[in-house]
Subunit: 357 residues, 2 copies
Amino acid sequence: MKGNSTILVTGGAGYVGSHTVVELLKNNYTVIAIDNLVNCYAKNNNEKPEALKRVERITGEKVIFYNVDIRDKEALDKVFKSHKIDSVIHFAALKAVGESVKIPLTYYQNNIGGSGTLFEVMGNNGVKKLVFSSSATVYGTPQFLPITEDHPTGQGCTNPYGKTKYFVEEILKDLCTSDSEWKVILLRYFNPVGAHESGLIGEDPSGIPNNLMPYISQVAVGRRDKLQVFGNDYPTPDGTGVRDYIHITDLAIGHLKALEKMLQPTFTSWKAYNLGTGCGYSVLDVVKAFEKASGKQVKYEIVGRREGDIAECYADASVAKRELNWTAKKDILSMCQDTWNWQQKNPKGFQSPCQGC
Amino acid sequence: MKGNSTILVTGGAGYVGSHTVVELLKNNYTVIAIDNLVNCYAKNNNEKPEALKRVERITGEKVIFYNVDIRDKEALDKVFKSHKIDSVIHFAALKAVGESVKIPLTYYQNNIGGSGTLFEVMGNNGVKKLVFSSSATVYGTPQFLPITEDHPTGQGCTNPYGKTKYFVEEILKDLCTSDSEWKVILLRYFNPVGAHESGLIGEDPSGIPNNLMPYISQVAVGRRDKLQVFGNDYPTPDGTGVRDYIHITDLAIGHLKALEKMLQPTFTSWKAYNLGTGCGYSVLDVVKAFEKASGKQVKYEIVGRREGDIAECYADASVAKRELNWTAKKDILSMCQDTWNWQQKNPKGFQSPCQGC
């Protein structure tokens, strides 16, 4: 018998979703995970996705799973009618920046339309507590560093993916203004990397990775020839772009802390929190740390800057520390070690059994 | 036999929609109008809305009408499959600022979700030319006056209605970036007022009017006791708020000109145009003009400022003049005369036969 309440996790089979489900289960929450399986591996549509099977292996707890798309109002409603859901953690979204420029409407329909449908069904079922998976991308080009939560949002969000995060934040704020029963926490992630220390779950990008760490990892394992570093003439210590990387387990625990905060009777309306370490690492810092963690050389070449990239971006994470009693604990070496551990044990991601787990 | 192409007009039975349909019919376009009838009067769901019957009376031309909600993908698709539609003029939206604060999700689902569905169905049917009914509200609190089209948008849009206009503009811009076949004109209206000179069609607000002109008109006709003027301590000539009112027929012709512009082979991607007169009139200016036009006294009282209101807002309409060969022709007196004519002939709006038409 679980002691804590029941949490619906949308996009529960994804990278951040699955790691968060681990922390929820470890803390005695009952978890209902839904996912439309577009970005995760399952043997077939009727089976629990492999990531969630591994979550169950890590925790020894069961996850209730439904293959449901958040745009499907009837299916969503059925899930709410079948369980006594207390709160929702909402991850489900398309998330590739480059792809969002090519098929913006798909991104808007999925991320905004789908979120709207979710909020509508939640409201209809009297569930009005939500933790939203947002992103530091809502800040656009930083006007100052480190970025605090009161940095302007929505200005200079140059790609549809980023705009969908910003727009959903605005919808949630307006929802809280309209109805005092809604309680919402917006979590603005910096750059999630790494994997669960067990090596059982991690980031499993399909095709060419969009992000630095999985790319480096695939170079180290020999799956890709070399890393392209986009620009070494930025005004940073070594000229390459500086970002705030955060270990996925720290990030997942941040969701747990946000949930606890939101469930306090004194919490009302909405609040945004940055989830980052507050430390900036350059591309070359990450390459070096990864080489140390893996014992492999990571070949790279410097190429031109990539349009839309900024020199530096890192968080002021002091509000989360003060109000959520949360700080990121794991350093860049640990992020690289866990990425490498996941990569070695799962060279094909979730499609083959974990090797040596 | 019509000489010009077939235009789908969403929200075609509404205030701006119906006046625009008149101008399209007068210029030999075939018009397919769709409307979900939430904001217009029809005897029953299967009948053509009264506004469109009167449009037919004004023009002597037929309008093809479907009772279709833009959120209904299948029904929309059927309309596109049944006609050879060349372009779309998209008005369908909820539009009451105050209501949008109370039921934001309904506004987001209708205005953004519905627009997304429309664009999706358009794309699927190879129709990629659109004139969008936007609003000067996308400029938020003016940073300078008169407002030009390159004034920043999306900053300080304080209500959900305004945000939906801004968000849909952004979606359309991203759509044009993603696919060069899309051609889009965003028309940013200032304050549409007045009615068709025939007195057959006009603004027919349900309940208490949200806007100044229909309110004044209902005071003049004795339906309401007096006008409340929100603040007379603004830094304007007489202390009351100054706005750029534009006659609905001028606005409608603006849509025709935008359509012609968009249909030119040289037009690519998207472009925004202000539709306003460029002249600012204060609340008391409008009261005086209305008294002159109607011969009736308009009682008013000064009350406190209303939250979110700004002192002044008026357009730089020179780009529309230069590129669309369009300027507003009708002055404030004409706007008041036509409003009064409509009000007198239709004291109950569209629900009773037009008196003396």
